[in-house]
């Protein structure tokens, strides 16, 4: 990741995928595309997230070669979207991504199915609801917006 979004010239089309805060960060790039009269599309990610990831996969898979993508989202939502983007076939050279806000994530308790929010980088946590000691994995569910927490100790 770069610290600042960088405009990559002469692409067939530019895509921007961001939430409110992300759009302000990407704004200089969007303005550049407007000045150049380049074709572009902005997808705004609001609060409503059901099926979102499938829709994004669909949207991205419809794009032609030579399309360039900018993504700017809260850290918590970035990793799963990157998985989708790469699953659809975008390579490192075809997109730039930026995170903002706190580096936290949701953990899905394997025993009670409740979600506990934790700081990024935590390896073992207690489920907030059933108090089971969980090992945080990188197995991610887009529908639950969470990483799976496995039983940490038998």
């Amino acid at each position: 990741m770069k610290n600042q979004p960088i405009f990559v010239q002469s692409k067939r089309k530019y895509l921007f995928l961001a939430d409110q805060k992300g759009l302000t960060i990407l704004n200089p790039i969007i303005e550049q595309a407007i000045i150049n009269n380049d074709s572009f599309e902005v997808v705004f990610l609001g609060k409503q997230k059901e099926f979102l990831h499938t829709d994004i996969a669909h949207w991205l898979s419809q794009q032609k070669m030579g399309t360039y993508l900018y993504v700017c989202l809260p850290w918590k939502e970035l990793h799963p979207i990157k998985l989708k983007i790469e699953e659809v076939g975008f390579s490192e050279e075809e997109y730039q991504w930026f995170g903002h806000g706190d580096k936290s994530k949701n953990v899905f308790c394997c025993r009670c199915h409740e979600i506990t929010e934790v700081a990024n980088g935590e390896v073992e946590i207690n489920c907030q609801y059933c108090h089971l000691l969980l090992e945080v994995s990188d197995h991610y569910s887009a529908l639950r917006h969470a990483y799976l927490g496995y039983v940490a100790k038998l």
Binding site: L132, S141, L154
Partner: protein
Amino acid sequence: MTYIDNLEQFPYPFKGNMYRYSNNSIPLDVPKSVDITSNYEEEIKLKRQLLRDHPKRCFQSLSHTLKAQWEILALVMNHLVNYYPDKFSLTKTNTLWTFRNLILNETQQFIYGDESTLLQQPLDFIGRHVQEDLILMSERDGNLYLDAGQLCFPANWSLAFDLGMSFREIHYPIPGFKEEKLDDRILNFLLRLEAGNPWGRNNWSLMAGNRLDTSLETFDDWGKGRKQVTAENAGDLVHLRVEVQTLFRLSRSNGILFTIHTHLLPLRKLAEKRAWLEQFYHILQELPPYIVDYKGLSLFKDVVIDYLKVQLEKEDAS
């Protein structure tokens, strides 16, 4: 849980003295999604108890799956009456269907396609009449998604967590799957699956205990068995767990029905077959650490190998 007494009926899964992950699917000889064994009544009772006590753990569906669920119900009912005509019957008067389960002495009438005429969703209903777990994979944009399932006997995974995931996402935890592009290869194979040409495969693991309901949700409980295996109890405590899986393309919704029938065999029984004993001993000894670890065998594999070795030597001596 009781096990199959008749060793000939056990779906012993191994070929050769080595095991690796691969696409081990083969076309089915008999295009049959379900199998009725001597444990039928006991397992159906357990299934229904689990569904009653833990509905979210055992059944999940997304709202757009009802059409495909009806298709699964029809497919499974057809198999039941065609392959077990003395145990099941189905009569259709226009859209009014009458399904009879003669083993359990149950009759259900319903209007095909009308959910309000069944107490459960179609997949949840038909799953209560078969020993298999039933999973619906929907196809969209060249990918497969787990959009509905009835799962009472999972091998340590969570349906509630996996709901809505793509085929690759589901298999993400398996070591080497992505690196060796197995996920892509198997997905491409599944996308080419055609209606009328079902495939099947086996998966296996070792269980310390004889529970069928080894859900991820209860792992903190049943997983403890792994610490209790000794040379003395291994023959009775440790079971070879085999999943017989089938894959059927659904012709109308274009989804895939994935069925899982779980069988358990205690090692003491396995050891009665010299060829199996020898082969399984070699396979376990040779099994690479990443598979041992993923299958959850690290805590008791060595004890099991010792047990199998002693059985082999006993037979050599006699």
